[in-house]
């Protein structure tokens, strides 16, 4: 039986009727057309579907949309305002070649937002530990680490 949910995604309020078995990732992609959230494995392993639920990074393939009634979701679409106004983290990835095909990138960016809020100046080891939750088949990770380091510096400069 369908249930009506009301939630905020990137600050915009939505009201939709959903089947309980609808995964949050599919709700975002198919019902809201927010296809920036990618789906790789559907069992929590790859990290491509990572979004923020009330400002914490979570797997949207392991949450049902009904569970987000009344909650706040943030997806990669909410980060920067297009190529001219990228978020500092996106700028870091662009500058340092932190992506190739880009499939893993939205999940990595969304994982990084709360991580850098909690720890604005992470060591390389801490960055690699965080990245262990996101699989990238292209870059070999080295460039991602450098992108995170630059992104963190840019974020820091912005806020100071």
């Amino acid at each position: 039986m369908n249930q009506t949910i009301e939630l905020f995604v990137n600050g915009i309020q939505y009201r939709r009727s959903v089947e309980p078995r609808l995964l949050l990732c599919d709700f975002l992609r198919y019902d809201l057309g927010l296809t920036g959230t990618h789906v790789g494995c559907e069992h929590g392993v790859c990290g491509a579907c990572t979004v923020l639920l009330d400002r914490e990074a979570v797997r949207s393939c392991l949450l049902f949309a009904v569970q987000t009634n009344g909650r706040e979701i943030a997806t990669v679409e909410g980060l920067g305002d297009g190529p001219q106004q990228m978020h500092a983290l996106q700028h870091g990835f662009w500058e340092m070649h932190g992506l190739q095909c880009g499939y893993c990138t939205p999940g990595i960016l969304m994982s990084l937002v709360p991580f850098l809020e909690e720890n604005p100046d992470p060591s390389e080891e801490e960055i690699r530990e965080l990245l262990s939750g996101n699989i990238c088949r292209c870059t070999g990770y080295q460039k991602i680490v450098e992108a995170v380091q630059l992104g963190a510096r840019l974020l820091w400069e912005e806020s100071n």
Binding site: M1, R21, L23, E42, L62, L63, R128, S132
Partner: protein, 294 residues
């Protein structure tokens, strides 16, 4: 794939939850963090008729000191324990183990109760619960009981809970004087399920001999494996390197029953058990010595 259809219930109180679980019996599953349950539903390995979502039950989210030590509500997020200063002080072994469980993004949702109830033989928390002699508070509509962690685990992905029962709370006893603890594991990648891991607790007498020891393995049997013979060998002994190594050897050769998978064969897991067993006993003893000096 996508999960099969199910009835969804989001109760707000424990009473309501227990009523729902009683009404559905075997056909309902409690939904905690969903980090183990939803993957199996996505692959249709599980197709419960109903999910009873525990995420809206405020009374299941807590970390506090109580009669039995550190008490955690069943829905306490793994991440909350990791960030808890109280947990670090009152249950340091539990606290030290948290970062080994999956990744931060998984621990943000995954719960203490969900991991303990799921009883995955490769999970860290069941082994830690057994090593610490934790106790589980289990409730149903008609019954409420405390179970020692040892009696809670009864086999592969199996616990002593009956359909209709819920793991409401778990309590981890405070560290005893002159005691030390350690956890270690080996995984292919940080955050992956470990190929082998072990938790140890060592308690010394005033004269510096071992009074009590616990050595519990994960990923080498059907559930958490307590190496009781190895622990018994240690009691009364001075904790020399030779004695600790012999105990780990005993555990790794006689007390575990590892099976192979694509990550590691039985022989390699046995080797890991020997090495990790010795390391955790050594570190736990060093910490017990430090505690004895304080």
């Amino acid at each position: 794939m996508k999960p099969a259809a199910f009835d969804y219930h989001a109760p707000r109180t424990l009473e309501e939850t227990l009523d729902l679980l009683a009404a559905y019996g075997e056909d309902a599953k409690p939904l905690a963090g969903g980090q183990s349950l939803v993957p199996t539903m996505n692959f249709r390995l599980a197709q419960p008729q109903a999910l009873v979502d525990l995420n809206g039950i405020d009374e299941l989210f807590f970390i506090r000191e109580g009669e039995r030590g550190l008490h955690c509500g069943g829905m306490t997020r793994q991440r909350a324990v990791e960030r808890s200063g109280l947990a670090r002080k009152a249950a340091p072994l539990l606290h030290e183990t948290m970062p080994h469980i999956a990744h931060a993004q998984i621990r943000n949702r995954g719960t203490i109760g969900g991991s303990l109830a799921h009883a995955d033989p490769a999970a860290e928390l069941p082994a830690v619960a057994v090593a610490l002699d934790a106790s589980m508070y289990v409730r149903s509509v008609t019954d409420a009981r405390w179970l020692p962690a040892r009696d809670f685990y009864v086999g592969l992905f199996a616990t002593a809970m009956e359909p209709g029962e819920l793991l409401v709370e778990v309590a981890f006893p405070r560290p005893r004087p002159r005691s030390g603890w350690a956890f270690e594991e080996v995984a292919r990648q940080h955050g992956n399920y470990a190929m082998c891991g072990a938790a140890a607790v060592v308690e010394l007498s005033e004269k510096g001999a071992i009074e009590k020891a616990r050595l519990v393995f994960l990923s080498v049997g059907e559930g958490p494996v307590a190496a009781d013979q190895a622990a018994a060998m240690l009691v009364g002994e001075r904790p020399t390197a030779t004695v600790l190594r012999a105990a780990a050897e005993e555990a790794a050769t006689k007390e575990i029953d590892p099976v192979g998978d694509i990550h590691a064969g039985p022989a390699y897991r046995r080797h890991l058990a020997r090495v990790i067993g010795e390391r955790v006993l050594t570190r736990a003893t060093a910490r017990a010595n430090e505690a004895a000096l304080m």
